[in-house]
């Protein structure tokens, strides 16, 4: 894409919008992935919640490799999609540069942390409590 842009654009300070179409594309890709995963998760919760009064019930559900992989895929796609969405909101409404940069970093690291923590919990539950 960058090959199509005239050098004069960069000289005039009208360079690329940072990462180009990457944000847009990943938002759509994770959206498509989240559609089946999200419905599967809600369906699983409907089955699970009435019996999930104990930790063992959650561990029993996650003993299955398919459910574990489904959850890890869901968490990764969900938190990445969430990160991109919240990033857009910060970029739209926070105009003070220092606040914006701080919030964007917090957003990225926060979502990364949530992904790691929840994935670890799922793996732990997969191998039993």
């Amino acid at each position: 894409m960058s090959g199509l842009r005239h050098k004069m654009k960069e000289v005039r300070g009208l360079g690329s919008a940072k990462s180009g179409v990457g944000h847009w594309w990943w938002q759509r890709l994770t959206a498509v992935v989240l559609m089946p995963l999200g419905l599967w998760f809600v369906y699983s919760l409907i089955q699970l919640l009435p019996h999930a009064a104990s930790r063992e019930a959650v561990a029993a559900w996650l003993a299955s490799p398919a459910n574990t992989l489904g959850m890890i895929a869901l968490l990764a796609a969900m938190f990445y999609h969430s990160k991109l969405g919240i990033q857009t909101i910060i970029e739209d409404y926070v105009h003070k540069e220092c606040c914006k940069i701080s919030l964007l970093i917090l957003n990225t690291l926060g979502h990364l942390g949530l992904t790691l923590v929840s994935t670890l919990a799922v793996i732990k539950l997969h191998f039993g409590i």
Binding site: G38, I46, P50, R55, V117, S118, A121, L125
Partner: protein, 136 residues
């Protein structure tokens, strides 16, 4: 074109929300964003639930479980599921727009009505199934 070099020049702004008459299309767009934020908030509950199940004791897990089992917790879950179905259907609508489908005004209104119907029906079906097996 010297003015293009200085980025802090006051640039003309496009009219923003307060300029326009409220319309269903714009309200639905805003609700898509709001439901996205609600779902991000709800994802924290998923993390807390998984973490309590994996690493919390039976007591910690009982706190989380009794919170979602409480009537107020259930109301929160109902709102959460409605936000999910809205964002799901509205997101599907956005994906169709991305491939260039459905930009005609009558289609926009029809797909908007579909999103609202989808949200109401699926939220109802979900909780009909859930509350039946989950006596309070």
């Amino acid at each position: 074109m010297a003015s293009n070099i200085k980025q802090d020049d006051p640039r003309p702004l496009s009219p923003h929300l307060q300029i326009y008459r409220w319309q269903i299309t714009m309200a639905m767009s805003i609700v898509h964003r709001i439901t996205g934020v609600i779902l991000t908030g709800g994802s924290l509950l998923i993390v807390a639930w998984l973490w309590a199940a994996a690493y919390g004791g039976q007591d910690t897990y009982a706190v989380i479980y009794s919170a979602i089992h409480h009537p107020l917790g259930k109301i929160a879950l109902i709102c959460w599921s409605a936000a999910f179905y809205y964002h799901f259907a509205s997101g599907l609508r956005h994906l169709f727009w991305d491939i260039g489908w459905g930009f005609e005004i009558p289609t926009i209104y029809k797909s908007g009505a579909f999103v609202l119907m989808f949200t109401i029906i699926f939220t109802f079906v979900t909780w009909f199934g859930l509350l039946k097996g989950w006596a309070s």
